[in-house]
Each structure stands twice: as structure tokens, then as C-alpha cells.
Amino acid sequence: MKKVNFNSLENFEVPEEWIEKAVNAKPKKKPILLRPYVWGTAASVAAVITASLLLFNSFKPSNVSPLAVSTTVPSTTVQKTIPSTAATEKPTEHKTEPATEIKTEPATGQTVPAQTESAAEPQHPTVAPTDDPSKFRIKEKWEVDTRVERPVASPILTDSLLLLSQDELFTGDITIIVSPDSPFYERKIFRLAVTGEYSSDSIEVGGEVILEAVQGENGEKTVTFNLFKEGAYTPSADYSFLFYNLDDNGSKTDTKTLTEPLYSGNSITINI
């Protein structure tokens, strides 16, 4: 049996050109996308940008209606100009409110809502989509109203409320007729609290209204106002109207509660 010589494998001689080629070889450059530090840098930059955006967004003004921000009920104040004979009476409360500053005009018999004059086109939060800049103006307007010192029933305002279209809001007129035998008849300026529950989210919305009635021809006093035009947020629902007077101590007297459906553009008349 033959003995194997393993050294005979070395018979394969490396060609000189292999060696020359290897000697003249140049180091390979890795493609830029395969370099780990490139990916690391890109990931770091992306992380920093994301973190910055998140931080920036967290400082951005919230999209939530002032009802959600404020702990007080926004107050919608409606003023009516009245004949000069009634112009001297001023409400004892809410002295800081613009609504208490009654405009006096000569007895023209014409009634003009004071706020409608100052804001020809009221801003309304409900019709504003999330990117509508007008919502910020609305917010400011409502914040001004938070000066009313009255606790809110439920300040939570969800997105579903915010995204309501104009059709889903009550935009009609409310006419209040005060008969001579009403406990409110003697007062020229009286108050009412309007509260309603928005059915889909069981959220209470509402506000306080200060009204000044106008003496009618048949002995009644009337006042017509429009919550929508005043910038009040009233999704279509059944609303409770709480009429009351205030005594010298600021306590409510002569309270009277009525429930009325406020839907879309339907106007309603309330007799008290």
C-alpha cells in the first residue's frame, strides 16, 4: 500500500498574476448606506426631530373649546335698547360685564342687539374644523365671558361637540314675552340661566343671559335674542330656562323653570 504524501498538495503553485493583483488591490469602500454610523446618525436626527415636534405640539394652544378650559359658565349677554324711561336702571350684579352697560338711545322703539353691532359676524366654535384659525378668536371671546363668577355644570366639551356643524346647532330666535302678572314684569333687566344636555354625550351646556325687555303695545314686555348670533354654544337639544330675580343679598328669587326644545333654526316663544 502506498504512503500518501500530503505535501504533494503544494504542487499547486500560486500564479504570479494572482500575487500581483493582490499586491495592487485597493481596500473596498463600503457603500454609504451600509455604514452603521450613517444609520445611527439618521436615526438620531429622526428621533430629535420627532421629540421636537412632540414638544412643540404639547405647547400649542389646545383645540378644546373654552367651555372645556374654563371652570365657569360662559355668559351670553343680550342687550336691548329701550325707551329712555327705562334706561336708568342698571343691574346690581355683573358690573364688570359689558352687558350691564346698557346703551341708551332716544326712544326710537327700535331694538338692536348690542353685541351684534360690535361683532357683525359672530364666530362660532361648532362650525370650525380643527384647523380653522377662527376657533382661537372664539376661544378669546368665550374667555372674556368667563368673568362671570358662576360654577359650571359640566365644563367638559368633547370633540364630538366641537365638530358639530351649523345645522346641528340651535340658531333660531328666542322671544320672551313677560306678561303684566309675571313676577319679572316689574324689572327691566332680568336674568335667566339656560342649560341643556347634549344627548349624544350627556354633556351639559349652558350659559347665563341678561335681558332687558321692551314694553310692548299690549302691555306686555318682550325681548328677542339669538344665542347663536351672540356666540353661545347651543347644540340642538331640550334646554331648561331658569328665570330669576336677585334680591339685595344676591340670592335668586322668583325662580321659574321652563323646558323648551331648541333645534336648528326653529324660533321659539316663551311666555313668563
Binding site: 502506498k2 500518501v4 500530503f6 481596500p27
Partner: protein, 159 residues
């Protein structure tokens, strides 16, 4: 000029060309394809330029790099190389009856590698285990089986 275990790159290439070439031919069988692996091994050395403790370390590294280059080459060309295209006997092998190369080529690649490192490069079992990243006992067993395979292929006695 960069030094590898005290040697210039050109010196490394000239000194270890034979070893690297043998490892590549042993694995690939075809000298034309083996050249690619041979060149790739030295390009790796240039590109990675690792630091070596001594020449032995450098040699180990080159053998390992050559083996990996061969793996990569086979993997990359698995779908394009037909087994039928591989010659039964390597083309570089002479007709010398005592040349065992052709018999070695008939042994499975893993065993072939170990046989080569042990008998041609004169590495001990422990060193082979280090180079190939295998267990010492595994290398011992594979060396024994490889010898038997070689014997049956060659019909001779491994010495």
C-alpha cells in the same frame, strides 16, 4: 505604510499567498473561482486592517478569512454553479500517482479543510479548533473520519 504583524502588505501577500491559495482551492476546487476568493481575502485584510499580535495570529486570520470568502462565494453562486460542472479531478492536479490532491477533493469540504490544515499547514488539533471555531474533540473526530474517507478514496494509507 501600514504594517501587519510587522510585515508590509506586499510581504504578507508574498509570504502567505501559497497558504491562502491552497485553502481557497481546497474549498472551491476550481482554481479560476478560487482566485476570486484569494483576492477577496487580501482585500479584506486591506479594508479591515486588523491589528495582529504576531505572524501566527496573522496567518490564522488569513486562513479564517479565506475560508469565509469561500463560504460567501459558494453561497453567492449556489444557484449558478452546477455540480456537474465541477470536474471530478482538479485541473491543476498532475497525473502524479502520489499526488493526493484529487483524492482530497473527493472528501467532504469540512473534512478536507481539517485534513489540509493538519497535514499541509502542520497545525495541531487545538490550533485548527481555534481557526475554525470548532470544539477540539469535534476536530479530532473529523480528522479521524477524514483520514478514513481519504483512505477509501485513495486506496492508500494516510501518514
Amino acid at each position: 505604510m501600514e504594517l501587519f504583524a510587522g510585515l508590509r502588505y506586499e510581504e504578507v501577500v508574498r509570504k502567505y499567498a501559497q497558504t491562502v491559495a491552497n485553502v481557497c482551492v481546497m474549498r472551491i476546487k476550481n482554481p479560476v473561482d478560487a482566485e476570486d476568493c484569494f483576492q477577496d481575502t487580501f482585500v479584506k485584510l486591506l479594508t479591515k486592517s486588523p491589528s495582529f499580535n504576531d505572524e501566527e495570529h496573522l496567518k490564522h486570520w488569513l486562513i479564517r478569512a479565506a475560508i469565509h470568502s469561500c463560504y460567501d462565494y459558494i453561497k453567492k453562486n449556489r444557484r449558478t454553479i452546477s455540480l456537474d460542472s465541477i470536474p471530478e479531478e482538479p485541473s491543476f492536479v498532475s497525473d502524479d500517482a502520489y499526488d493526493i490532491s484529487w483524492a482530497l477533493m473527493k472528501v467532504k469540504p469540512d473534512y478536507r479543510e481539517i485534513l489540509y490544515l493538519h497535514y499541509c499547514e502542520r497545525y495541531q488539533v487545538k490550533e485548527i479548533a481555534e481557526i475554525l471555531g470548532r470544539n477540539e474533540n469535534t476536530v479530532k473526530v473529523m480528522l479521524k473520519r477524514g483520514r478514513e474517507m481519504l483512505k477509501s478514496a485513495y486506496g492508500g494509507e494516510a501518514g
